[in-house]
C-alpha cells in the first residue's frame, strides 16, 4: 500500500515537474546540428583500371551494385539517339540468355537489374548477389544486341519522339539547348525520326566496344558486403575485361550570347507560352562557388517559397509554377529559369523574370530568408544520408570531379557559412544580366508584341533552324473573300464535277495518341451527312444529319446538337463547306492577310456564321485549296481549346479533290486521319447513313 502510494506521488511529482519544463505555446528550438559521419568508402583498382568503391552497410542483408562508364559526352551527329537506344537494348538479352530467360533468372534471385546508356545497376539479397553479379556482368560485357529487340526499342523511341514533337516543353528544351550550345555540341544536338531510323545494330555494337572499358569505369558496391568479398567478385566478373583507349570528346568552348535575345518558336495552337530563359555559365561541380551558388539558386527559384514562384504564381497568377537554378557541369554549366504562362501574360511574365534576376543581383537578401533556405537544404542533405547509396554517390563525385576528399564531410559547415552577402555576390556572377537566351514556344501572333524591348526577336522552327518572322502579308485589293471561296470550289473540280456527285463514302483509320480507330464519313448530297469514329464495331463518336434531323453521340450517350452545330453539319453535308457559305444568307467573311501554312502562303479568312460563331480558314494562294481550319471549342474539363484541322493531302476521285490526309490538333488531343477508301455515287441513301 505504502509502496503504491509512494509511486503515485512520485508520478504526480514527475508530471507536475514536467508541466513546467516545456512551453507548449511555442515551437521547440532545434538541438545542436547533428554531427554527420560520412565514412570514406573503401576503394581499390583492378589491374585493368576498373575503380571499385565499397560502402559496407550491414543494416540489411542486401547488396546493390552500379557500374558507371565515366566517358566524355558524345556528339552523335546524324545518328542522334543511338546512345540511349543502346542503353535500353542492353537489358534485352545477353549472348547466353534471351530476354525472357534473363527475366526469369533475375526474378529467381529476387533481384532487380536495369541499364542505361552508361550504367548497369543490380540489387538483391546478399545470398543471391553473387549470381546476380554474374548476370550483371553478362549484361554489361556480353549483351546480345539482338536485331529484333532493337526494332522494339526503335518503336518505343519513335513513339516518344512523336509525342515530343507536339509537346511545347520538349520543343522549348530542344531549341534552347540548341541555341545555347550549338548544333555541333553534344548538349545541343536533337534526336529526330530520321536520326533514330539510321541507328543500326552495328552502330550500337561499336558504341559498346569503343566506350565500355574498365579504365574509365567505376563499380560501386553498397550494402552487406565486405571489401574482400567485393574484391573477389569484382575480379572474377570484371577482371578479364580488357582495357582500351577511349576517345576523349573535345568540344569548342560555349560562349553566352553577347546580348540578350528572344527566340520565338511559333506554335499557333498554343494557349500557354512556355518561357525558358537560359545562359551557359562556367561553374564546375565542387568549385568553391558551387555551394553558395546553390543557396542563391534556391532563393531565386528552388521550390514553392522561392522568389520566382512567389512573384509569378502567388502575386500575379500568371502561372501554376515558376522556378529556376544553376547547374554546374564539367564541360559547361548553365543558368536556367522557366514557367508556362497564359498567352496574354507572356510579355509581362518575361518582365517579372528579369525583374527578379535584377533584384537578386542588386539587393542583399534578408538573413531570415537565407537562413530558412539553408535549414531546408541541410535537412534535405541529412535525410539523403539515410540511403547508403548517397555515400557511394558522394564518393563517385569526389573521384570524377577531383573534389577534396572531405568535400561532403564539410558540406554542412560550408552551407552554414553562406551569408546574405555571398548570395548577392553569386547572383552577380551566375545570373547573367545581358547575355540571356529567352526561348518562348507559343502562338507568335498573339504573344510577340512587346517582346522586342527585351532584345532582338528571332524566330526558329521546332528543330532550332532559323526562320523568317511569320509576317502578315497584305492581300491585294482586288481579291475578295467570295472570289477566294469560288477559287477553292474550282480547285476541288469545278461546279460541274461537284454537281455530278450524289453521294460519297470515305473510310480510313484515325490515330489518336498512338491508338488506332476506324474513321467513317458519308455524304448524301445535299442534306445527308454522317461521320463516326469506331473501335472495332463499337462507335466511339458519331455525328449525323438526315434532312432536318440531327443527332450526335459520344461513347453511346447522345449529345445535344443546337444552333451553330446544326449549321456546321448542314455545311458538311454539302461535301464542300464553301458551297454552303456562298448559298446561305447571313454569312460574313473577312480576309485577314496571308500566312504560311506548312511553308506555303495561304489566305487567312475569318468566317462568321449567321448565328455569330466564328472560325478561321486558310486557302492556298497558289492552288486555291483549303489547307487549314481553326475553331475554338469547348472540350469538357480541358476548357477552351483551339482545334486546328490541317488538310495535308488531296486526291482526285471522279474528278473532284478529296482530302485524304487530315491532322486534327486540339491541344492535348491529336488525331491523324488517313482515308484509305473513297466510293462515289454508289447510290447511298439518307436512310443508309450509319
Amino acid at each position: 500500500m505504502k509502496h503504491i502510494f509512494y509511486s503515485a506521488a512520485l508520478l504526480l511529482a514527475t508530471l507536475a515537474g514536467t508541466a513546467q519544463d516545456i512551453d507548449r505555446s511555442k515551437a521547440p528550438k532545434p538541438g545542436p546540428a547533428p554531427v554527420i559521419n560520412i565514412a570514406d568508402p573503401a576503394s581499390f583498382v583492378l589491374p585493368n583500371g576498373l575503380k571499385v568503391f565499397v560502402v559496407t552497410n550491414k543494416k540489411l542483408p542486401q547488396v546493390s551494385a552500379t557500374l558507371t562508364i565515366d566517358r566524355d559526352p558524345i556528339f552523335e551527329g546524324e545518328k542522334a539517339g543511338l546512345i540511349s537506344m543502346a542503353g535500353s537494348l542492353m537489358r534485352r538479352g545477353t549472348t547466353k540468355m534471351d530476354k525472357s530467360t534473363l527475366d526469369e533468372a533475375v526474378d529467381f534471385l529476387g533481384g532487380d537489374l536495369s541499364t542505361s546508356s552508361s550504367s548497369v545497376s543490380a540489387s538483391s539479397l546478399k545470398k543471391s548477389f553473387p549470381k546476380l553479379m554474374e548476370l550483371m556482368a553478362d549484361v554489361a560485357l556480353r549483351p546480345a544486341f539482338d536485331s529484333r529487340e532493337l526494332e522494339t526499342v526503335r518503336k518505343q523511341t519513335l513513339s516518344g519522339l512523336a509525342q515530343a514533337k507536339d509537346d511545347p516543353n520538349a520543343i522549348a528544351d530542344n531549341v534552347s539547348n540548341m541555341l545555347m550550345y550549338g548544333k555541333a555540341h553534344p548538349y545541343g544536338e536533337i534526336e529526330t525520326e530520321k536520326s533514330v531510323q539510321k541507328v543500326t545494330v552495328a552502330d550500337i555494337k561499336k558504341y559498346h566496344q569503343t566506350y565500355w572499358k574498365p579504365n574509365i569505369a567505376y563499380l560501386i558496391l553498397v550494402g552487406d558486403i565486405t571489401v574482400e568479398e567485393a574484391r573477389s567478385m569484382a575480379t572474377r566478373h570484371f577482371g578479364s575485361w580488357a582495357k582500351g583507349v577511349v576517345p576523349a570528346g573535345k568540344y569548342n568552348a560555349v560562349a553566352a550570347p553577347a546580348k540578350t535575345y528572344v527566340a520565338v518558336v511559333d506554335r499557333p495552337s498554343s494557349v500557354q507560352s512556355v518561357i525558358s530563359i537560359n545562359a551557359p555559365v562556367q561553374l564546375k561541380p565542387g568549385a568553391p562557388d558551387a555551394i553558395p551558388t546553390s543557396v542563391m539558386a534556391n532563393v531565386l527559384g528552388g521550390g514553392f517559397s522561392s522568389r520566382l514562384n512567389q512573384n509569378l504564381r502567388e502575386k500575379y497568377g500568371f502561372t501554376y509554377g515558376a522556378g529556376g537554378g544553376v547547374s554546374p557541369d564539367k564541360l559547361v554549366g548553365s543558368f536556367s529559369a522557366s514557367a508556362s504562362v497564359r498567352n496574354e501574360k507572356t510579355d509581362s511574365a518575361v518582365g517579372q523574370f528579369l525583374y527578379e534576376f535584377k533584384r537578386i543581383r542588386n539587393e542583399v537578401a534578408s538573413d531570415s530568408e537565407v537562413t530558412a533556405l539553408k535549414n531546408y537544404m541541410s535537412g534535405g542533405f541529412a535525410r539523403s544520408l539515410e540511403n547508403p547509396a548517397t555515400v557511394a554517390a558522394f564518393a563517385l563525385n569526389v573521384a570524377r570531379y577531383q573534389l577534396p576528399k572531405d568535400y561532403y564531410r564539410t558540406y554542412l559547415t560550408k552551407l552554414a557559412a553562406v551569408k546574405s552577402a555571398d548570395v548577392k555576390a553569386m547572383a552577380a556572377k551566375y545570373v547573367p544580366a545581358n547575355n540571356l537566351i529567352i526561348t518562348i514556344v507559343g502562338n507568335a501572333r498573339e504573344i510577340a508584341k512587346g517582346l522586342d524591348k527585351y532584345g532582338e526577336v528571332k524566330y526558329f522552327d521546332i528543330e532550332g533552324n532559323p526562320m523568317a518572322a511569320p509576317v502578315v502579308k497584305e492581300v491585294s485589293a482586288d481579291v475578295t473573300p467570295e472570289a477566294v471561296l469560288r477559287k477553292a470550289l474550282a480547285a476541288y473540280g469545278g461546279e460541274g464535277a461537284i454537281a455530278a456527285i450524289k453521294d460519297a463514302s470515305l473510310t480510313g483509320t484515325m490515330n489518336l495518341m498512338g491508338q488506332n480507330f476506324i474513321y467513317v464519313q458519308q455524304h448524301v448530297l445535299p442534306d445527308g451527312y454522317f461521320s463516326a469514329i469506331k473501335m472495332g464495331e463499337m462507335a466511339m463518336m458519331t455525328q449525323k444529319k438526315a434532312g432536318g434531323e440531327y443527332s450526335a453521340s459520344m461513347q453511346g450517350a447522345p449529345l445535344p446538337i443546337e444552333g451553330d452545330a446544326k449549321a456546321n453539319l448542314d455545311a458538311k453535308a454539302m461535301l464542300y463547306e464553301e458551297r454552303y457559305y456562298l448559298s446561305t444568307p447571313g454569312y460574313q467573311f473577312e480576309l485577314q492577310g496571308i500566312e504560311a501554312v506548312e511553308g506555303k502562303d495561304a489566305y487567312k479568312m475569318k468566317i462568321t456564321s449567321p448565328g455569330g460563331s466564328t472560325s478561321t480558314s486558310f486557302f492556298d494562294v497558289a492552288t486555291g485549296l483549303r489547307v487549314k481550319d481553326m475553331r475554338e471549342q469547348e472540350l469538357g474539363p480541358m476548357g477552351k481549346v483551339v482545334m486546328t484541322t490541317t488538310f495535308k493531302e488531296y486526291k482526285a476521285f471522279n474528278g473532284v479533290q478529296i482530302p485524304v490526309k487530315v491532322n486534327i490538333d486540339a491541344g492535348p488531343l491529336k488525331q491523324d486521319i488517313d482515308i484509305t477508301d473513297v466510293k462515289i455515287n454508289t447510290g447511298l441513301k439518307k436512310e443508309d447513313l450509319k
Binding site: A19, R24, P30, D107, G110, L125, M538, Q555
Partner: protein, 445 residues
C-alpha cells in the same frame, strides 16, 4: 544412398542460406504511458534522421453508415492548426526544419509521420502532441478541407482511369460490414455533417488510448522518453474506443457487373473474398500473388502480356484487412481483345494452380522474391516506424517486424493449392468488366 546424401546436403545448405539471409533483428523498446498511449522506440544512429509517427486505430470501418469519409477527412482536417499552431503552420515548420511530412488513411487506421533531421526531434513531438491534444476544429477549416477532399476525389477517383475500381469491388463484395464503403467516403455525408459531429469524432478516436507513437532513427532513448512524457503525458485518457463487430456472411453467389468509365481500354477484375490478415491462409495468399504477378517472369505477366498479348498489364493484389480480405486479379486488355477472353485466360491460370502443384524451382523463385521484398521494407526509418506501429496495432506484436518472415517460410506448395481450391471459386467472387463509356451494352459480363 547417394540420393539421400544429396538431399541431406541440400537441406543443410538451405538451412545455412536461410540463416545467412537473416536480417539483423530490429531492436525496439515498447511501453505504455498511464493515459494509454503506446510508445515504440527504435534507435538507429546510422544517419542523422528521425521519424516521429503516430498511428490512430481509426479508419473508415469505424464510421457511421450515414457519415462515411470521416476518418479520411480527419487526415486533412488535422493539418489545419492547433491551439498553438496557426493554419498552415504544420507544413511551414516542417519545411523550414528541412523535414518532410504526410499522412494516409485506410479502412482500419490513420497514420501521420514527420521525417526530420535528428536535432528537430522536439519539433516532431510537439507537433504530434498538439495534433492529439489541441486540434482546432472550426467551420472555416472544415469548409476548406471539404473543398480539398472534393478535389482529391475528383483527381484520384473520378478523373482517374479505373479510379472507382476499389469502391466498386468493395461495395459488391461486402453487404453488412463497413468495408462496403471506402475511405474517401461520400461527399454528401461530409457536406451534411455539422461541426459538432466532427468535434465528437475527434474526441472519440483521437485519444491516447487509441494511438501508437512510433519513433525510429537517431535519438537518445532516456532523454526522449522524458520528452515523450512531457509532451504526451498531460493528454487525458479518453473513453473506451468502440470497435465494430459485424460478421459478414459468405457471398450468396457470384456477382458480375459492367462498369462504364472514361477509359480507352477495357479491364477485367476478379475479387475473391478471403480471410482476415494475419491468418496462415493470408500468408499463403501473399505467396500466391507473387506466383501470379511478381516480376517480369510471373505467370500472369508471361501468359497475358508476353505470350498471348491479351493484356497491356496484369497483376494479382492481396487486399487483406483487419476483419476480412480480398484477393484481386486485374488485367487491362490490349486493343481489340474481348474482356471475356482475358478472363478466360485468368481462370485457366487459377485452374492450373488448383490442379497442379507448382514446381520446386518456381516455388523457390517466389520464395526468394517474397524474402527479398520482406527485407527491403525495412530500408528506411520511416518504413520501420510504420511497420512497428502496424504490427503492434493489428496483431499486438511489434516484433513481427523480425519474425513475420517465418510465417511466409512455413507456406508450402500444397498451401497454395489449398487456398486456391478453397477460396478462388466462382461463388466467392465479384467479377467486373470496366468498359469505355457507352459500351456497357455490348460487353457481356
Amino acid at each position: 544412398m547417394i540420393a539421400v546424401k544429396n538431399t541431406l546436403t541440400a537441406g543443410m545448405l538451405l538451412a545455412v542460406v536461410a540463416a545467412s539471409a537473416q536480417a539483423p533483428a530490429i531492436q525496439f523498446e515498447k511501453y505504455q504511458l498511464p493515459n494509454g498511449l503506446k510508445v515504440i522506440l527504435h534507435q538507429d544512429k546510422s544517419a542523422p534522421v528521425v521519424c516521429v509517427s503516430v498511428l490512430y486505430h481509426v479508419g473508415s470501418k469505424n464510421e457511421d453508415t450515414s457519415r462515411t469519409g470521416f476518418a479520411h477527412f480527419f487526415e486533412h482536417l488535422l493539418f489545419e492548426g492547433s491551439k498553438y499552431m496557426k493554419r498552415g503552420d504544420f507544413d511551414k515548420y516542417i519545411t523550414n526544419a528541412g523535414g518532410e511530412n504526410n499522412a494516409n488513411t485506410s479502412q482500419d487506421r490513420t497514420f501521420y509521420y514527420d521525417l526530420l533531421p535528428s536535432n528537430q526531434l522536439d519539433l516532431g513531438l510537439w507537433m504530434e502532441s498538439e495534433r492529439l491534444m489541441h486540434a482546432e476544429i472550426t467551420d472555416a477549416g472544415v469548409e476548406t478541407q471539404r473543398q480539398v477532399v472534393k478535389e482529391e476525389k475528383r483527381q484520384r477517383v473520378d478523373n482517374q482511369p479505373y479510379g472507382t475500381l476499389v469502391e466498386n469491388i468493395f461495395k459488391r463484395a461486402f453487404q453488412q460490414h463497413p468495408y462496403k464503403w471506402v475511405p474517401i467516403g461520400s461527399m454528401e455525408h461530409l457536406e451534411a455533417a455539422k461541426l459538432e459531429e466532427f468535434v465528437a469524432f475527434y474526441k472519440r478516436y483521437y485519444v491516447p488510448n487509441n494511438a501508437v507513437l512510433s519513433i525510429a532513427g537517431d535519438f537518445d532513448i532516456p532523454s526522449t522518453k522524458k520528452k515523450i512524457e512531457q509532451f504526451f503525458g498531460p493528454i487525458p485518457r479518453g473513453a473506451e474506443v468502440p470497435r465494430p463487430n459485424i460478421q459478414e456472411p459468405p457471398m450468396a453467389g457470384e456477382v458480375r457487373d459492367v462498369i462504364e468509365d472514361n477509359i480507352q481500354l477495357p479491364a477485367v477484375v476478379q475479387a475473391y473474398r478471403g480471410p482476415a490478415q494475419g491468418t496462415d491462409e493470408y500468408y499463403a495468399f501473399n505467396v500466391l500473388s507473387t506466383l501470379l504477378s511478381g516480376g517480369e517472369s510471373s505467370r500472369m505477366n508471361k501468359a497475358l502480356v508476353d505470350q498471348k498479348e491479351q493484356a497491356v498489364a496484369a497483376g494479382a493484389f492481396p487486399f487483406f484487412l483487419e476483419d476480412a480480405g480480398l484477393f484481386i486479379n486485374f488485367a487491362i486488355t490490349n486493343m481489340g481483345v474481348k474482356p471475356a477472353d482475358v478472363e478466360q485466360t485468368i481462370d485457366s491460370l487459377i485452374a492450373d494452380v488448383q490442379t497442379n502443384l507448382i514446381s520446386e524451382r518456381e516455388f523457390e523463385k517466389i520464395r526468394n522474391q517474397v524474402e527479398s521484398n520482406f527485407v527491403r521494407q525495412n530500408a528506411s526509418v520511416a518504413g520501420i516506424a510504420e511497420s512497428l506501429a502496424n504490427y503492434e496495432v493489428y496483431f499486438g506484436d511489434a516484433n513481427l517486424i523480425n519474425t513475420e518472415i517465418e510465417k511466409y517460410r512455413k507456406v508450402t506448395r500444397e498451401d497454395l493449392r489449398n487456398v486456391a481450391r478453397k477460396y478462388l471459386v466462382k461463388n466467392n467472387r465479384v467479377v467486373l468488366y470496366y468498359v469505355p463509356k457507352g459500351q456497357a451494352g455490348s460487353a457481356k459480363p
